[in-house]
């Protein structure tokens, strides 16, 4: 998944984080206690509320003194009518509680790095449930309709919309085999063996085969919510992430079919061959139908977004509404809602993104992340509460056997399937990969909700099932979730590379695509690339014309990528405040001149961006440059450390290197020069362009590089000692972050080399500094060394 949804610990928090953490916990407890009486307060329709004068005026509540036989009271100045707002009030109190908990976890320093958030949330749920029980109220249980209709879709939509299409389609075969065959294997293995155990064990012999198989189907599905929650934090490499995650998404179809099949026939008691055959057909219908429904809605949404040029404000709404309708429509027909949602998001994304404004894009991104985050938090908390709330029937044999069988089935399944899959894969899956795939098969709330839906009449052992399901969920989330991170480190599994796509890589990826297509054609072998190329051409010729507004429909991918990159650079440049960049601006003094020696530099080294876009860029710059000026007057670490939620965190630090070049371009853009600017000199450009706090510029960059590395303020060689104290802090931080960032990227020459221009002494100091990652460095730990 692209960007972490978690908050980084506020580095410059003025308040002591631990104190605020305690404050938070206390306030949350108070909040929780508020929930109890309010949640328990019965509605006025059932029992009269004491001291609610309105009651006496009649149930509708507002005014109306129609009854003539009442004694006239004084007009109520203040009245209490809680019942009126109870439902939304309680809901939002829960949401508030969930969000405050999330905040709290990240304020407590070491906690979030050891324990995954999902575990903490379940524990909170347990506590809440416990408190409820103590007070004597019935705590709310995670109702299945609430879960499936409201809590699950945002998470899935978030996953589907931001699904990395390329790795997904490249590994689609593998993912499908794991999802379909793997889940089937798991269900039957667990169900069958469990039935055998039940027969052997005296007390359980009432459990029939079909209920066992149904239980197997419920418990064997890998849960996308849990997988996302845990994998998000371990930053594993893209391949493994997409394999496990893709599997968790696509096995929904299998689960749906198996669940309905067994549930349907558990009453009848036997399954015939016809039923099995129908089951297979049903599977195809469910899966493909779901995808089709999603695709249709996706196309509709893309088409709608073509016309939103004049109503930019409601653009995000279309994305959300169409996707949710896709989900609901699929659920109407008992098709796979998850697959519909994924298909909808994946289909509409390229077209919608070409049509909507940049702000809408940001809005969509943040809303999706926000909703899915809240949903996930609520799900885990409710899981905890439901555990305490539900009445359980604990049966040692059943539960222990279930857990063991789950693990064994998963391991066996993964190993045998990988053996089969590796025959067809180019990049084989190693043992380490297999281990992670097996270990990452977490169960979660979907299993619980499916179990909850069971009808007690047909399934008298429902309570036992639920207990077992919850135990398995707890086991996988706590044990596997907590240990997967150290295991990943221990096994030295490849982590996610934080590199950003460079223009060169983009060019060559496209080049490679065409090259391989050409070779295939020469061979006469209509393979993978050939069909992909055909699809692309079809897309370009027909589909894009329909779904993308205006001239952008003809824009080739490379150009779109390039423009996007330029736009991002422009925005980052301005957003992060020009002043910061000066110290670290040395990195590359390479400019346009250096690569075109023989002839005079081109008149316009700029792309011919359309007027509209130029206007946009200029507007952004104008708006923000002002802020930059103001900001720099009173800088501190808060404003300079850009909002870490922005996924441009990496980009910003990366792009800072290129600031000089960009500034030049921007100046040319704003001035419409046809004469090239004078040869750029890094500090002077910065000084001239961004009319910012002169004090920031008065220090020579070399001096800054001097002072930057040393952690202790070393006044040995700075040229202007008075500026050291102020700039040293933040520039050091920026420096460190940039070093860490760049260390992880493909740029091999250490930025250290760029920083120090003359002094070897400075390099030494830099080396010492670089070996100590700053506080923010723990977030993105790269395996590659900073220095060669």
């Amino acid at each position: 998944m692209p960007s972490p949804r978690r908050a980084l610990p506020a580095p410059g928090a003025v308040v002591d984080p631990r104190r605020s953490g305690y404050l938070l916990v206390v306030s949350v407890v108070v909040l929780g206690c508020c929930l109890l009486p309010l949640g328990a307060a019965s509605t006025p329709n059932k029992t009269p509320q004491p001291g609610a004068p309105k009651e006496q005026n009649g149930s509708p509540g507002h005014g109306g003194s129609h009854a003539s036989n009442y004694t006239k009271k004084l007009f109520p100045v203040l009245s209490f009518d809680y019942g009126h707002v109870k439902p939304p009030f309680v809901i939002f109190l829960w949401i508030l509680l969930a969000s405050l908990m999330k905040l709290g976890f990240h304020l407590i320093p070491r906690l979030s790095s050891i324990v995954p958030e999902s575990c903490l949330l379940i524990v909170v749920g347990l506590l809440m449930g416990g408190i409820f029980k103590l007070v004597g109220e019935t705590p709310p249980i995670l109702r299945s309709d609430l879960f499936f209709l409201y809590l699950l879709p945002p998470i899935i939509l978030d996953a589907g919309y931001f699904l990395p299409i390329r790795p997904f389609t490249e590994n689609l075969g593998t993912i499908l085999i794991f999802a379909v065959v793997g889940t089937l294997w798991n269900s039957f293995f667990i169900g069958g063996l469990l039935y055998g155990v039940c027969q052997i064990e005296g007390t359980l012999s009432t459990v029939g085969l079909l209920p066992c198989l149904l239980f197997g189907a419920i418990i064997s599905a890998v849960d996308p919510v849990a997988v996302l929650a845990v994998f998000e934090e371990i930053h594993i490499n893209e391949l493994l992430h997409i394999l496990v995650f893709g599997e968790s998404l696509l096995n929904d179809a299998v689960t749906v079919v198996l669940y309905h099949l067994f549930e349907e026939y558990a009453g009848a008691g036997a399954v015939t061959v016809t039923d099995v055959f129908l089951g297979i057909v049903s599977f195809l219908v469910v899966a493909l139908g779901g995808v089709m429904v999603g695709a249709i809605y996706g196309v509709l949404s893309a088409f709608t977004s073509r016309f939103t040029a004049h109503t930019r404000v409601i653009e995000p709404l279309f994305v959300f509404v169409y996707s949710y309708l896709a989900y609901l429509s699929a659920e109407v027909f008992h098709l796979s809602g998850i697959m519909a949602l994924i298909a909808c998001g994946a289909v509409m994304r390229p077209y919608v993104e070409a049509n909507i404004s940049h702000k809408s894009h940001t809005t969509i991104k943040y809303f999706l992340k926000m909703w899915s985050s809240v949903s996930e938090t609520l799900i885990f908390i409710f899981l905890g509460v439901s555990t305490v709330a539900g009445d359980h029937k604990w049966n040692w044999t059943f539960v222990v056997t279930t857990i063991i069988l789950c693990m064994v089935a998963r391991v066996l399944g993964v190993i045998s399937l990988t053996y089969l899959i590796n025959k067809f894969r180019i990049v084989k899956l190693t043992t380490k990969d297999q281990f992670i795939i097996a270990y990452g098969g977490l169960r979660g709330a979907i299993a619980f909700s499916l179990g909850y839906l069971l009808d007690t009449d047909h399934f008298p052992m429902r309570k036992m099932f639920l207990t077992a399901i919850i135990t398995v969920i707890f086991f996988t989330v706590f044990v596997q979730g907590m240990t997967i991170r150290p295991l990943v480190d221990l096994l030295a599994v490849k982590k996610k590379q934080e590199t950003k796509r460079s223009i060169n890589e983009e060019i060559h990826t496209q080049f490679l695509d065409h090259l391989l297509t050409g070779i295939e054609d020469i061979c006469g072998h209509y393979g993978h690339h050939h069909w992909k190329d055909k699809l692309n051409r079809f897309n370009k010729k027909y589909v894009k014309k329909c779904l993308i507004a205006g001239e952008r429909s003809k824009e080739p991918q490379l150009i779109a990528f390039y423009h996007k990159m330029e736009m991002k650079q422009a925005i980052e440049l301005v957003e992060s405040g020009g002043g910061v960049k000066v110290p670290s601006a040395m990195p590359s003094t390479v400019s346009m001149q250096n690569i075109q020696p023989k002839k005079p530099p081109p008149e316009r080294a700029l792309p011919q961006i359309s007027k509209g876009r130029e206007e946009e860029i200029r507007k952004i710059l104008r708006n923000n440059l002002q802020k930059t000026r103001q900001r720099l007057q009173s800088y501190n670490r808060h404003t300079l450390v850009v909002d870490p939620y922005e996924d441009g965190w990496n980009e910003i630090l990366l792009k800072r290197k290129k600031m000089i070049e960009l500034e030049k371009k921007i100046s040319q853009m704003s001035n419409y020069l046809t004469v090239p600017a004078p040869p750029p000199d890094s500090p002077t450009i910065a000084r001239a362009r961004l009319a910012s706090d002169p004090q920031a510029w008065s220090i020579k960059p070399a001096a800054n590089a001097d002072t930057v590395p040393s952690i202790k303020v070393d006044l040995a060689s700075p040229q202007s000692p008075d500026s050291v104290s102020t700039l040293d802090e933040f520039s050091r931080r920026q420096q460190q972050q940039q070093e860490e960032e760049e260390g992880g990227l493909m740029m091999k020459p250490p930025s250290a080399a760029r920083e120090e221009q003359e002094d070897g002494k400075e390099q030494q100091r830099l080396q010492r500094c670089l070996s100590d990652p700053g506080p923010a460095g723990t977030e993105e730990e790269e395996d590659e060394p900073f220095l060669p």
Partner: protein, 219 residues
């Protein structure tokens, strides 16, 4: 075909298999394809490639075709171009697209990476001087974008310039205003494309190579 001929061919095939790493089956298939393309002649010419209709919409077809006639791709150290190639050369060029074998050591993988990247490099470096100059890179980008109509030359130029700039900043890092970045050398090229897993991506599955009939490859 007489048995003696096929025996001779077998021997040839074996030698080729040794050299290029293909299996005998694959070599037989490719030879059939070669004969089909060359109309049963011994050598292939550029015009023969032009007849492949599927290749026409490909934006970089001329570069691909040129690559087949580029001596640098024939395994030796020669430079220059030829007018026609035999089956041996055809096979050698094709061998650059073999899928990665299993059980290779790190060095083996690195070696294959270099080979494949060398092939790409040669495709860009048209004048065989060992560096990709700005002009050559520009023409690469232009060709890539040539498939879409209404492309402005300046955009292509700008993209190529930006890309070149990136290469320079990444590999060299620091240049005084007066210095000149000559062009992308092979080492720089390697560095720039470190992120793209060439050895895994640059391959074609040769399992179902068939000359006249069309068969979809396995995913």
């Amino acid at each position: 075909m007489g048995s003696s001929q096929s025996a001779q061919e077998e021997q040839e095939y074996r030698a080729l298999a040794e050299r290029t790493g293909f299996s005998l089956d694959q070599i037989r298939n490719l030879h059939k394809r070669f004969k089909h393309l060359s109309h049963d002649e011994e050598t292939l010419r550029k015009e023969d490639f032009d007849e492949i209709s599927d290749l026409t919409p490909n934006p970089i077809r001329s570069q691909i075709i040129d690559a087949f006639f580029d001596k640098r791709n024939f395994g030796g150290n020669e430079v220059g171009r030829v007018q026609e190639i035999g089956f041996r050369e055809f096979l050698t060029v094709m061998s650059h697209f073999r899928p990665l074998r299993q059980n290779l050591t790190e060095e083996g993988i690195e070696r294959i990476r270099r080979e494949k990247l060398r092939f790409l490099f040669n495709m860009h470096d048209k004048d065989s001087d060992g560096t990709i100059t700005l002009d050559e890179y520009r023409s690469v980008v232009e060709e890539l974008l040539s498939s879409s109509a209404a492309i402005e030359i300046e955009t292509a130029t700008a993209i190529a310039d930006a890309a070149m700039l990136e290469v320079a900043s990444v590999t060299v890092g620091e240049m005084a205003p007066g210095q000149v970045y000559e062009g992308i050398t092979f080492e720089h090229f390697l560095e720039i494309l470190k992120g793209v897993e060439i050895e895994a991506k640059m391959h074609v599955r040769f399992l179902n190579v068939d000359t006249t009939t069309v068969r979809c490859g396995k995913l």
